[in-house]
């Protein structure tokens, strides 16, 4: 199962105007829904996607980047040395493989470490579908606040969320 379109609805309600990333099966429904609203840019590697998002933000854009949790490893330098270092706000949606019923070995090794890796980049992280204030309007507000405060903010999406 993949992420519900509710995430896409939340993004569409926010001020996000640039969407890019690397495809992920957990996020495939959401990204397909995003394609209805945005010109989604698919990139070959996660650090390039984050860098493109930073470039968009530098030109007045409000970017969202999506990736699988395994891509966090590729994206770390871009997140830290570009987005955080230059105080450029980027919203990062991460498919959280290796959680819930997903017990594939090569997913679990990353699933177990995702929260720690994300936490090393930013203290701003929400797990979609697991908070009391998680409607599309609330998520949109969380996203937009990140742009206003020039923060890197994460949204983690579990399989079937």
């Amino acid at each position: 199962m993949t992420a519900r379109p509710g995430l896409a609805a939340a993004v569409a309600r926010s001020t996000v105007d640039f969407v890019c990333g690397v495809p992920d099966s957990v996020l495939s429904d959401a990204t397909a829904e995003l394609e209805r609203t945005y010109d989604v840019h698919y990139l070959p590697r996660e650090d390039a996607a984050v860098a493109a998002a930073v470039g968009a933000a530098l030109n007045g854009g409000r970017p969202l980047v999506f990736m699988k949790n395994a891509g966090l490893g590729n994206a770390l330098d871009a997140l830290v040395s570009l987005a955080v270092c230059h105080a450029v706000p980027v919203i990062v949606v991460v498919g959280w493989a290796g959680t819930r019923s997903d017990r594939l070995g090569h997913h679990v090794v990353w699933g177990d470490r995702t929260a720690a890796v994300v936490g090393s980049v930013s203290e701003h992280c929400r797990v979609v579908g697991e908070g009391p204030d998680d409607g599309p309007g609330d998520l949109a507000g969380y996203i937009d606040e990140g742009f206003e405060l020039r923060q890197v903010r994460f949204l983690l999406v579990r399989p079937g969320a």
Partner: protein
């Protein structure tokens, strides 16, 4: 030279880390320059995101060959983007700012233009001296789509100091310039050109 050329062209210039960054910041600093103090290999992808945001935005990238090979994914994305980006690679065959260690990836002779054409750059040039670089920079305008200029170089004897503005100041300064450029209708639109040189 590339810094001054980019300013004359009213192009945003994204500069990869290393001694090139120090040289540009020291000799051709401008609000339209964005210096990637970190994020080695990511100048090209950053330029693509910048240019993709607004159709009137024009960009240039200046990086060394260490940055180039580290960021091949971003380069491939740039090459096929069709955006107005001129990508200049200064290839001295080494990791100069970390002690001069040899770069084992080499694209001498015609291999760099061949790679660039294969990736999808719409205009490709090579230069081995200042005159050649000036000719290449002049030849890739007017045009539309991405261009790559491979510059065969050597280590520089003099090292420029690190730039004074910090990362946040650079981002703020650049964003302000970009906002003003968008408001004034930045740059000129180019015409399609597929001339390749080596």
């Amino acid at each position: 030279m590339v810094g001054r050329w980019a300013q004359a062209e009213r192009r945003a210039l994204f500069v990869g880390n290393g001694y090139l960054l120090r040289d540009v910041a020291h000799h051709a600093d401008a609000a339209s320059n964005f210096y990637l103090f970190g994020g080695m290999g990511l100048a090209t992808a950053t330029a693509v995101g910048y240019a993709a945001t607004d159709p009137s935005s024009r960009a240039a990238v200046l990086e060394g060959d260490g940055n180039f090979f580290m960021g091949l994914a971003g380069t491939a994305f740039c090459a096929s983007s069709g955006l107005d980006i001129v990508h200049v690679v200064y290839a001295n065959g080494m990791y100069e700012s970390s002690g001069g260690q040899p770069l084992r990836c080499e694209l001498g002779g015609s291999r760099a233009p061949t790679l660039a054409r294969g990736l999808g750059y719409s205009w490709v040039g090579a230069a081995y001296n200042e005159h050649g670089l000036a000719m290449a920079l002049s030849a890739c305008h007017p045009r539309s789509g991405t261009a790559l200029i491979w510059v065969g170089g050597a280590p520089e004897p003099d090292v420029s100091p690190r730039p004074r503005p910090g990362p946040v100041e650079i981002a703020d300064r650049f964003s302000s310039w970009a906002r003003a450029a968008r408001a004034s209708g930045q740059g000129l639109s180019g015409q399609a050109e597929t001339r390749h040189t080596s």
